[in-house]
């Protein structure tokens, strides 16, 4: 019973997470405060009241100001630890040992997504998606042969699935 309990206790995970450290939360609150301040500033350029009542600047002003207050509150008092019921974790789901690898994967995934998003219309879905599948799988550590194969098979498969559903995906200048 005791082993079950210790493996389920979620507390052990939190301190290892850099973002939940006090400083990171305050940094986030500060960023939010700046965003809110800019929002309020922009809102002040819209008419606050008009002939009927609240104008187009009314809600933005109030919402922005309240958010600014909340952000300042978190900056000063810190946001109290979450009461969100943490999951009973399994122990196996601990952080990957190599945190740099994890960060590289996250960063790489975002970059690949952005590149694919921008490439979708100019070069067409098939090429963009094949490249995306191959690149992502390589990033996640699949063998190159398999990654390339998955890209070459996967992209057209999705394309034809959508075509069968009468959803036209962008094609490149070569017509595929």
């Amino acid at each position: 019973m005791s082993t079950l309990h210790s493996s389920q206790a979620p507390a052990g995970r939190r301190p290892t997470n850099p973002l939940t450290r006090f400083g990171a939360k305050r940094l986030a609150a500060a960023v939010l405060a700046i965003v809110c301040a800019a929002f309020v500033l922009e809102a002040s350029s819209y008419p606050y009241m008009d002939w009927l009542g609240p104008g187009s600047g009314f809600f933005p002003m109030w919402v922005g100001s309240l958010c600014l207050l909340a952000a300042l509150g978190m900056l000063i008092f810190g946001s109290s630890p979450a009461g969100n019921p943490p999951l009973p974790t399994d122990g196996e789901a601990d952080l990957a040992e190599d945190r740099t690898l994890a960060r590289m994967r996250i960063g790489g995934t975002i970059v690949i997504l952005v590149l694919t998003g921008f490439a979708l219309q100019p070069i067409g879905f098939n090429i963009a998606a094949a490249a995306m599948i191959t690149a992502l799988l390589l990033l996640y550590g699949t063998r190159p042969v398999i990654a390339v194969l998955a890209g070459l098979v996967g992209a057209p498969a999705v394309f034809f699935l959508f075509a069968a559903l009468h959803v036209r995906l962008p094609v490149g200048p070569l017509g595929f």
Binding site: L4, P54, P88, T89
Partner: protein
């Protein structure tokens, strides 16, 4: 009443037409399939699957969408039980007892009772929806912008009041949601606000990419940090609970259904609240509360029943007033509108055949899902064995396409990625994203309703207190805020502290 009954029969038989039945089957299968994928909750799963309904025409599209809706929910349950990864906040409660059950070799019973509970709650919930929908919709016709404004104020006050986590963070997230909802052409003069001259923002921040980013991409990014959790893939033998558990489980299902439906009618009441309340209720009435958190079947039963009853009940404000109460329903509403159907009281008057087919399809969807799951549960388990990197890539491709095909617009893809990154950061900060999404939905409705009220009253703001319904609702909202501020949210805090240490009590008395 006779004519109402006729409408019910019509709706159910329309949903039972062979072609619609086929769409219900397909919807259940792909819904469960996508819902099973770890880290993909119903809202994100629905968003991904919208393109599949573009070309179907209104009725089949809706039949398929509601099947997908129930499918994704059940798929999420499977993942919660076997992998301990909840697709969305409500499934957390299912994890609490479902996963321990699976670890002790009773995954089948957990999934079985979840399916039975969902079916019961789904059928009872749909029945209540049928009974309530028509009278409520005729009431809703008398519901003008004044009353709508007051109801939305109640909804938003609830969003901020019922939440886990830091008081300030939840408040800030609600405000961030409202701020995002203000982007676009304003409802007053039609002038752009906060668009930075970008025409893509004139219609506001598109909800579907936001939801896919916050609930799909961010989960995926977070999971890249962890070793993929190992699903429990021991062979599932029996889907039925032990004989001596059955009575308790049945009672738990009944109570869960009641709690889920009663609270689900209120717009803005996220599913997490009734689910936790139902769970807490079970723990309180149980003769063996110490079993909770270690595989109590009542825990799974009540959580799943209240979850599904809530899903049905939240259809009431959607269909009668056009207010989507949850992120998943907002996606569903978007899909309705893509198919040319605007939820609201008008729907009952002008397209009763569509409404009743929708409601009929809920019954069919629930039953089809139930029937499908018994033979297919082994297949779903197999999917969890596919190496997670292939699943990740598939999810990313479908998210990308879901965001893009919405308006054939690259900008929306970038919005999705941006919210994926933001959602990841929010996750790390423990800032809750559900209030943000609900606020994005309700905020613009609130501003419009206020403006419309004043336009119709010629600037006379006293209408909000001289209209009885509105005065009553505003009073209620005031009470909600007052109570939650004064009590420091004691009930919720108590609840969450209990869950943060689920095994606490059990240690003293193993």
């Amino acid at each position: 009443m006779d004519s109402t009954f006729g409408l019910w029969v019509q709706g159910i038989s329309a949903a039972l037409e062979p072609s619609n039945l086929l769409f219900a089957f397909v919807g259940c299968i792909i819904g469960t399939l996508v819902g099973v994928l770890p880290g993909l909750g119903p809202a994100a799963a629905m968003a991904i699957l919208i393109p599949f309904t573009y070309d179907l025409g209104p009725v089949p599209a809706i039949v398929m969408l509601s099947a997908i809706y129930f499918g994704t929910q059940y798929g999420g349950t499977i993942t919660s039980v076997l992998v301990n990864v909840p697709g969305e906040s409500t499934s957390v409660v299912t994890c609490l007892d479902g996963h321990p059950m699976a670890k002790s070799g009773r995954a089948g019973a957990a999934l079985g009772i979840a399916a039975i509970g969902s079916l019961f709650a789904g059928l009872v919930g749909t029945f209540l929806l049928m009974v309530l929908a028509l009278p409520l919709s005729s009431l809703a016709l008398r519901f003008g912008p004044v009353e709508m404004f007051a109801l939305l104020v109640v909804g938003l006050s609830l969003v901020m009041s019922f939440r886990g986590g830091s008081l300030l963070a939840a408040f800030a997230m609600t405000m961030i949601g409202l701020m995002l909802g203000l982007v676009g052409l304003d409802p007053v003069q039609g002038a752009p606000r906060f668009t930075f001259g970008n025409h893509n923002l004139f219609d506001g921040v598109q909800l579907v990419p936001v939801i896919m980013g916050l609930f799909g991409i961010s989960e995926l990014l977070a999971s890249l940090e962890e070793r993929s959790p190992q699903p429990i893939t021991r062979k599932i033998t029996s889907l039925l609970p032990f004989k001596e558990e059955r009575k308790d489980a049945a009672l738990a299902i009944t109570r869960g259904t009641g709690v889920g439906f009663a609270l689900g009618i209120i717009p803005g009441m996220a599913g997490i609240v009734p689910t936790f309340m139902a769970y807490a209720l079970e723990k309180r009435v149980s003769k063996h509360p110490e079993r909770f958190g270690h595989g109590a079947i009542e825990g799974v039963a009540s959580a799943e029943a209240s979850n599904n009853a809530h899903a049905q009940a939240s259809m009431v404000p959607l269909l009668t007033l056009g207010i989507p109460g949850t992120a998943t329903l907002a996606v569903m509403m978007g899909a309705f509108m893509i198919n040319g159907i605007t939820p609201g009281p008008f729907l009952f008057v002008d397209h009763p055949e569509i409404v009743w087919t929708v409601i009929g399809s809920f019954i069919v969807g629930n039953v089809v899902l139930f029937i499908l799951n018994f033979p297919l549960v082994h297949v779903w388990v197999q999917i969890l064995r596919i190496p997670s990197r292939y699943l990740h890539v598939a999810i990313l491709i479908f998210c990308l396409l879901g965001a893009f095909t919405l308006r054939n617009n690259t900008f929306d893809v970038m919005v999705m990625i941006a919210f994926g990154v933001l959602g990841y950061i929010f996750k790390k900060l423990d800032w809750p994203t559900v209030p943000l999404v609900i606020a994005i939905i309700l905020g613009p409705l609130l501003e419009r309703a206020l403006r419309q009220s004043l336009e119709l009253s010629d600037g006379d703001a006293s209408v909000f207190v001289t209209t009885p319904v509105s005065a009553g609702l505003l009073g209620l909202a005031f009470l909600v805020v007052a109570v939650s501020v004064l009590s420091g949210l004691r009930p919720v805090k108590r609840l969450s502290s209990r869950f943060s240490n689920p095994a606490g009590k059990a240690d003293q008395k193993p």
